[in-house]
């Protein structure tokens, strides 16, 4: 499993980009989608919370919660020819949730009851986990509609990447459980349906929660009762989709210790859950120019003629600091490779300036879509051990 991202995604129709917050997931997702589209595929990328300028460059600010075609002129202007099509959307969690209810509700009355319920409103907008759930719901729909060769999903910025895998289960296991039945008949009958002890549970619950909250919850769950079948069917579909051979998870990390631990943890969970791991991208790596620690005095002496003593010393010191970071980053990469058992992570160096626009996407794209040799050369150029061509 070496080569470019394009080689690694060969034959895949869904690419889920996972990793902890702040590692460049959104940029990576968009760059992958853009690259695949440039190669001639019809690609849709679902982003969660793109930087403002990237969002406006890709036209993501328009409403609709559906992918729309990004004007190829945007990329042509930056020097990239689009042989296929890039479609992009920004996920609207609440809207996705509402759509789902609308589709699954048996009639207008139960639909309105759910949409108007306070608990539902909280669930669909504010609650942690709703983004994870809706992202995957949207992915499922887009896959079913079948209008694209490849779907790329940027995952939500949850601190624990695992939330993403758990989200569908957490919300749906409930619907198959006994608790729902309890709420569908929140009277004495419930005790007979689900067995002894439930009556006690109920009276204790009332005491703990206060009666009104219980009523709100029970209205909520009763209303949802009408859509259980649709919901559980979807849940099964979503689970199957995540384990499908056409799906792959790309793990993105930065070389900092916490994201690295998170990436390893997530990789382990993927394996445990039997979900496909498609590769590792290490972003924002400080390029390493030399293995040995920097001899500040020697480097300064070499630059003395060109820069003068004072500046030469500043440059040498800056270089020493940077190489110390580069050494740490290299150790992180070794640790990742050992733990995951692959030596083919795609390394993207810390790119100059701003990666939150189309130019920036192209910068990342260059590394992701290069073959092994070219990628190694780009890293040498970034480190300065080889002049740019």
């Amino acid at each position: 499993m070496t080569g470019s991202v394009s080689d690694r995604l060969e034959g895949k129709r869904i690419c889920i980009v996972a990793g902890s917050g702040g590692v460049g997931k959104t940029t990576t997702s968009a760059a992958i989608a853009m690259g695949l589209a440039a190669e001639g595929k019809r690609v849709a990328v679902v982003t969660i919370d793109p930087a403002k300028r990237l969002a406006s460059a890709l036209g993501l600010e328009q409403l609709g919660n559906e992918p729309h075609l990004v004007d190829p002129a945007v990329f042509a202007a930056a020097g990239l020819e689009m042989r296929g099509e890039l479609w992009a959307m920004m996920l609207d969690a609440k809207r996705t949730f509402d759509d789902l209810i609308e589709r699954l509700a048996p009639d207008a009355e139960s639909r309105d009851e759910i949409l108007g319920n306070r608990i539902y409103q909280e669930l669909s907008s504010a609650v942690a986990g709703s983004q994870e759930f809706t992202a995957i719901a949207k992915l499922y729909d887009l896959d079913r509609e079948g209008g694209f060769d490849v779907l790329v999903l940027d995952t939500p910025p949850s601190r624990n990447a695992l939330d993403f895998l758990d989200a569908p289960d957490r919300l749906t296991s409930f619907f198959e459980g006994r608790a729902l039945k309890l709420f569908l008949a929140p009277t004495g009958i419930a005790a007979k349906v689900v067995g002894r002890g439930t009556g006690v549970v109920f009276s204790v619950l009332k005491r703990v929660t206060g009666v009104d909250l219980l009523q709100d919850l029970s209205v909520f769950f009763r209303a949802l009762g009408g859509i259980i079948d649709g919901f559980t069917e979807r849940a099964r579909g979503v689970k199957a989709l995540l384990a499908d051979p056409g799906t792959t998870f790309l793990i993105v990390t930065s070389p900092q210790p916490e994201p690295v631990e998170e990436a390893l943890f997530f990789h382990g969970k993927l394996a445990e859950a039997g979900m496909p791991f498609g590769g590792l991208v290490v972003n924002r790596v400080t390029p390493r120019a030399q293995e040995a620690p920097v001899d500040v005095a020697a480097v300064a002496a070499d630059l003395d003629d060109a820069l003068g003593a004072s500046l030469a010393k500043k440059v040498a010191k800056t270089y020493a600091d940077e190489q110390a970071i580069a050494a740490r980053d290299a150790a992180s990469i070794v640790r990742l490779a050992r733990a995951i058992g692959t030596h083919d992570a795609i390394i993207v160096p810390l790119l100059d300036g701003d990666v939150h626009d189309v130019e920036g996407l192209l910068g990342v794209h260059r590394h992701l879509f290069a073959g092994d040799e070219e990628r190694a050369r780009l890293l040498r150029v970034a480190a300065g051990v080889e002049p740019a061509a």
Binding site: S158, N160, R178, A179, A306
Partner: protein, 329 residues
């Protein structure tokens, strides 16, 4: 310490990857060093801060001393629920019935926002004079290493949502009590952490807006983390670029060193722009304090200790001057 001298609860949040945990741990150490009995709380059963402080894995829901005057606890909603039930119900047997009921477990897992409520409820409990946890002593200050901005705000919003939804009863009462504490500037402070980069600053500004909406408050302090030293001036950079474009000295390390310096200059330029943007966006009422980038990494006890000293010093300065000065300023 700046706007954080008196509050009982200090909530640290910001974009993912900006160093929230490091800053929370450093703040907690600084409080402890100032003689306040401090507890550092992590959520979702995490214990990164504990390991950063060299105190190893935490184990869930166990308060333990990790440094002089500093305790640590890792909160998870399941244990918080259990403790809450035992406290609320007159008979322990009833709590056991509930905790062991599968129906109830499902309900607790599926009720929107309940995990957040239970977590923030435990944080509130840590900040009380009379502790609910049997045998526990009170703390002077609780530092919460909260999740990233969006989820962090959801945590702060949960008590009011439940209070509104329940109207009456214990949850409504409890929700309102917690909300009162969170919205009281004398008792609770929110610290926004960012790095001097576009997206992190954008999120810190979004936090300010979201916090106002959720609690009617502004952050008590903003921390600009990982500030690089501004060694290379614009004139230096011009000179370096000229050498890079022309005759680079032939020694092996010359080009990498020149490129590193040019890059460092560009980073510092971005840093300056983004620091200014953050300060402008936050206005005068939120002091901004810079913490230095540590080339050796910021995830070990020495680094956290160093940052805690910086924080103690700079946060005081910023409180007096009304605006902070970054490490690179």
């Amino acid at each position: 310490m700046g706007g954080l001298r008196d509050q009982r609860l200090v909530v640290v949040t910001g974009k993912g990857g900006v160093g929230k945990t490091t800053v929370a741990a450093a703040l907690a150490l600084a409080f402890a060093a100032a003689g306040r009995r401090t507890v550092l709380a992590e959520v979702s059963g995490r214990d990164d801060a504990s390991r950063m402080l060299g105190a190893g894995n935490a184990g869930v829901f166990r308060e333990r001393v990790v440094a002089g005057g500093l305790s640590h606890v890792s909160i998870d909603p399941e244990h918080a629920l259990e403790e809450y039930l035992v406290d609320q119900l007159p008979v322990k047997a009833l709590a056991d019935v509930l905790a062991q009921s599968r129906a109830f477990t499902y309900l607790a897992a599926a009720t929107p926002g309940l995990r957040e409520l239970l977590t923030v409820g435990k944080v509130w409990e840590l900040a009380q004079d009379l502790r609910r946890t049997p045998g526990a002593r009170p703390y002077d200050v609780v530092v919460l290493d909260a999740p990233a901005t969006g989820h962090g705000l959801a945590l702060l919003r949960a008590p009011r949502t439940f209070a509104d939804a329940a109207h009456v009863g214990p949850i409504a009462r409890q929700g309102r009590t917690i909300e009162e504490m969170i919205t009281d500037p004398r008792r609770t402070a929110v610290v926004a952490v960012a790095t001097p980069e576009e997206l992190a600053v954008t999120e810190a500004l979004a936090l300010r807006a979201g916090l106002r909406e959720a609690t009617g408050r502004t952050p008590a302090l903003a921390v600009l983390n990982a500030m690089r030293p501004a060694r290379i001036t614009a004139a230096d950079a011009d000179r370096i670029e000229r050498v890079l474009a022309g005759a680079v000295p032939s020694r092996e390390s010359a080009r990498p060193a020149l490129q590193a310096a040019a890059r460092a200059h560009r980073t510092v330029r971005t840093q300056r722009t983004q620091s200014a943007r953050l300060k402008r966006g936050l206005g005068d009422e939120v002091p901004v304090v810079g913490l230095p980038h540590l080339p050796g990494g910021a995830s070990d006890p020495d680094a956290v200790l160093r940052l805690s000293r910086e924080l103690a010093r700079r946060a005081d300065i910023s409180a007096a001057a009304g605006a902070g000065t970054g490490a690179a300023a």
